[in-house]
């Protein structure tokens, strides 16, 4: 396919899967789009002033300085996933640049669709220049016809400059036979804000990721939020890490995990290296059916004046809460779903309403099917 196929020309089945991953095909609530199906870049555009959405190679042709951002926060030789991506002669993925002072409250959408290929690989670079504000929703999904299984290798490097802000909301909607290996890292400068949100309500064979934010600048902020459900055959090994280097830097790592028979390993690490830094890690897990939730929160402080905390809890639905709602007329299923919905309800500070609604909507879909 050639670039910039009209999004409305996609097949009905493909469209459905994309919409479920948070992709707005009408573009009403989006200011830009990048769509990659297997290794074909189908669509890449942005209408917001000062913000560019470019295919990887094109960005490097256009700007010689792109080299300064390639493999700088994610190490090329980190593991076999990064090595595989680095070895590609024809690298794919997107580059999003929010130039100095630009802003988009209406998000850009990036969609990675796995159709026929065995392995889809992408390398993304996202840059918010000084004072810029950039909001991205990334929907990742696979075709209903991927029978033989497949894998997605995604490297993402984020650069949040002075006084800039990036929010990155990733909604996964894979299927039981897909393995996903995101490798991402960010560096945040003075007063910069990086928000990373991950939602996965649908089955997936395996997800493994451990994104890291290095808060280099003074008063920089990172917030990671993960909301996940592991169905019977799903194996999710999720983590997030914040390294607090700048004076007054702060981080918050929040996870809500539900297992319906699958495995969730919820890792987290905050490293306070400078005085005046703060970090909090919170993981709440709910076991609805026998499976496994393994929370491994780590906090590490090495100087006087860093304040770090964590709380982790794994449990079941409380009978008294269910019956409380039943005494108000809700039947047991409704009461259970209402409580689970509440458990998953994480309001993300600093996230535009459109994106919060998108997160809520993908949880609502799961609620309608009774979780």
């Amino acid at each position: 396919m050639s670039p910039n196929v009209n999004l409305s020309e996609l097949s009905a089945a493909d469209k459905d899967r994309l919409v479920q991953s948070g992709i707005d095909l009408t573009m009403t609530n989006r200011c830009g789009s990048y769509l990659q199906m297997d290794q074909d870049i189908v669509h890449s555009e942005c209408t917001s002033e000062g913000i560019e959405v470019l295919p990887y190679k094109k960005a490097f042709e256009k700007y010689s300085w792109m080299k300064e951002y390639e493999w700088k926060v994610v190490a090329e030789d980190k593991d076999e996933i990064t090595k595989y991506v680095a070895a590609q002669k024809d690298p794919k993925g997107y580059v999003i640049i929010a130039h100095k002072g630009s802003s988009n409250i209406v998000p850009i959408q990036a969609c990675l669709y796995l159709g026929r290929e065995q392995i889809q690989h992408v390398h993304n670079i996202i840059i918010a220049e000084e004072g810029a504000e950039l909001h991205i929703i990334s929907g990742c999904t696979s075709g209903t016809h991927v029978g033989k299984g497949g894998a997605h290798y995604g490297v993402s490097e984020f650069y949040v400059k002075k006084n800039a802000k990036i929010s990155f909301t990733m909604i996964h909607n894979w299927s039981e036979n897909i393995e996903v290996f995101p490798r991402s890292a960010s560096v945040v400068e003075e007063n910069g804000v990086f928000l990373s949100n991950y939602v996965c309500m649908q089955p997936v064979k395996m997800v493994q990721m451990y994104p890291t934010a290095t808060l280099k600048g003074d008063n920089s902020v990172a917030r990671f939020s993960s909301i996940v459900i592991a169905t019977a055959e799903s194996h999710m090994d999720l983590g997030s890490r914040a390294i607090l280097e700048g004076k007054g830097a702060s981080a918050e790592l929040i996870t809500r995990a539900i297992t319906k028979g699958g495995t969730i390993i919820s890792r987290g690490h905050i490293n306070g290296k400078t005085a005046g830094t703060r970090g909090h890690l919170e993981c709440k897990g709910l076991i609805l059916q026998d499976g496994r939730i393994y929370a491994i929160p780590e906090i590490e402080g090495s100087v006087v004046g860093t304040e770090l905390s964590h709380e982790a809890a794994v449990g079941k639905l409380a009978k008294d809460e269910i019956e409380y709602l039943m005494s108000r007329g809700l039947d047991e299923d409704e009461a259970t779903a209402t409580i689970i919905r509440g458990f998953l309800d994480v309001k993300i500070n600093g996230l535009p309403d459109a994106l919060q609604h998108q997160i809520d909507a993908s949880i609502d879909v799961a609620e309608r099917s009774g979780f």
Partner: protein, 243 residues
């Protein structure tokens, strides 16, 4: 409205309510008095249908229908409601969302009802999380206003509530029980547990019962019973056999 006959209730292996008989007619509000641990809350929870309370003998009729084996939501659908003394905190569940779930297809004006009990600013708060005693009770009354049951059980509606809020609670509960209507026109019934009796200054009650050791020991005029207990305590009630 509510008719209880020879009711025995177990919690676990232990019988905690023995041979309870109680009849509450349409439009009547009764008060249930008794010392701590006498089984008052257990009786309310049993009438509501909570699963930890097992009925081993006897039956509960509601509007002539046997509800003894029904689950809590089936009883709620038939018009039984309860104001909890200590409702659970539910993390993440917003009061506003719960009210919407309770109201379903009914056309209640939730914001107006919330404002009437000063709970309009609590719609986005996790239910009962960090609520003061008075806020918990106002949230409970608000839920009942939307649920609109025909028979309302009130478990210590004044506990933890300051004086100003007692009057607000009294007015709201009075309106739930249609106290503004003439007695013959009233269709709502109630059963109130009170320790202090303060709430009886705001809600007229028709009949009183005293519970001790899981048994109802006596019945009578609520004000007289309360006066008696204030003067002599529950000591004599414990010595008294069921009438």
């Amino acid at each position: 409205m509510l008719h209880i006959e020879d009711l025995h209730v177990n919690v676990g292996d232990k019988e905690v309510l023995h041979d309870i008989n109680l009849h509450i007619g349409e439009g009547e509000t009764h008060v249930l008095l008794g010392p701590n641990g006498s089984g008052k809350t257990t009786l309310l929870m049993t009438i509501m249908g909570f699963s930890s309370y097992t009925i081993t003998e006897g039956m509960i009729l509601f509007k002539g229908e046997d509800v003894t084996r029904m689950r809590a939501h089936e009883r709620a659908e038939r018009g039984i409601g309860i104001l909890f003394q200590r409702p659970p905190t539910i993390s993440g569940l917003k009061l506003g969302k719960l009210l919407t779930a309770i109201s379903r297809k009914k056309n209640e004006d939730i914001p107006a009802l919330a404002a009437s009990v000063h709970m309009d600013r609590f719609m986005d708060r996790d239910i009962n999380k960090g609520f003061s005693g008075g806020e918990i009770k106002r949230s409970e009354v608000l839920q009942l206003m939307i649920q609109n049951p025909d028979f309302i059980m009130l478990d210590e509606p004044e506990s933890g509530v300051d004086l100003e809020n007692i009057s607000l609670m009294g007015t709201a509960i009075g309106s739930l029980l249609e106290k503004e209507k003439r007695m013959s026109k009233r269709q709502k019934s109630g059963l109130v547990i009170t320790h202090t009796g303060y709430i009886l200054d705001y809600i007229e009650t028709d009949r009183g019962h005293v519970m001790c050791d899981g048994m109802i020991r006596c019945h009578g005029n609520p004000r007289e019973i309360l006066k008696d207990i204030k003067q002599r305590g529950y000591k004599e009630c414990l010595e008294c056999r069921q009438t």
